[in-house]
Symmetry: C2
Subunit: 175 residues, 2 copies
């Protein structure tokens, strides 16, 4: 298979169908490959192109990627592979949407980032955000972070499917 | 500074001006930050958006990122941070444009990938390619890989400036 086709999503599919393709393709790409940088790099591409293929507000995705717990300093997250514009290099645990989700070990769906206390604006264009922890052996090792240029970009389907994706990543990658 | 602005490039600049901005922004982003995943992730974003801001053929960039020497197997390259569609996870040293540039430790500018013996087609849309080794203490640790959907997408300016960028990455990041 030409790998690029894995991240080509037909228009007109439902969000559930598109996430099913993301999960199927991610599982195939992780087979025999446990390197976390490689797996997160391809996953950020899959997810970004999946969301771009959907109707509004999903196609207003403007950043999609990962932060991991910094091996040099476990009190902060450090930027991992992503798709989109340049992003903040490090985020203290407990700060902003990413740091709060990582500290709590739970998914945060933020309808309007401007109403989130202590929001860190890496990109002023971002208006809503979902952050999903990747938990391995009871420990947060990374987060999935997706930003949208529209308010209310994420719903219960995004939460459910991104949590499934986080579980797949945790089971398939050595951090 | 809102970080996303670092990868916003004004239209109408020359290629040399755009690369000067890439080098300046990369140096600023690397200051106080030696984590290679973080630095390559932001650099792939900078470079991708820089090329998109230029006239044809540069704006036909369709993949921009990095492979590193696989810590688990030094005879192969493994996928690092990138912007674009899903890519091949691993490339044996000496195979394809990336593997050949890494094995030789020298830049390859390929006018037409279909004429390159043993070309690995991660994406059938790619028609030309430049690969620049990142050399640290005399050893290739990574490569910069940029693909273009047009034949002849890269010239001597790309080669010179990407080699400068590779030097900056090597001096600024711990692999």
């Amino acid at each position: 298979m030409v790998h690029a086709e894995a991240s080509t999503f037909a228009a007109g599919q439902s969000k559930a169908e598109v996430y099913a393709q993301v999960l199927e393709q991610a599982a195939a790409l992780f087979e025999g490959q446990r390197n976390w940088v490689c797996n997160l790099a391809n996953t950020s591409s899959l997810l970004y192109h999946a969301l771009l293929s959907l109707p509004s507000p999903s196609n207003a995705v403007n950043w999609c990627g990962f932060y991991t717990v910094d091996p040099q300093n476990p009190n902060q997250l450090i930027l991992g592979p992503f798709q989109g514009h340049v992003a903040c290099q490090a985020i203290p645990l407990g700060r902003g949407v990413c740091g709060t989700a990582a500290a709590k070990g739970e998914t945060l769906v933020v309808r309007d980032v401007e109403e989130f206390p202590g929001h860190i604006a890496c990109d002023a264009a971002s208006r809503s955000e979902i952050v999903v922890p990747v938990v391995q052996e009871g420990r947060v090792v990374a987060i999935i972070d997706v930003d949208c240029a529209e308010v209310g970009g994420f719903d219960g389907v995004d939460k459910e499917k991104l949590e499934e994706l986080a579980g797949l990543i945790a089971a398939s990658s050595d951090f």
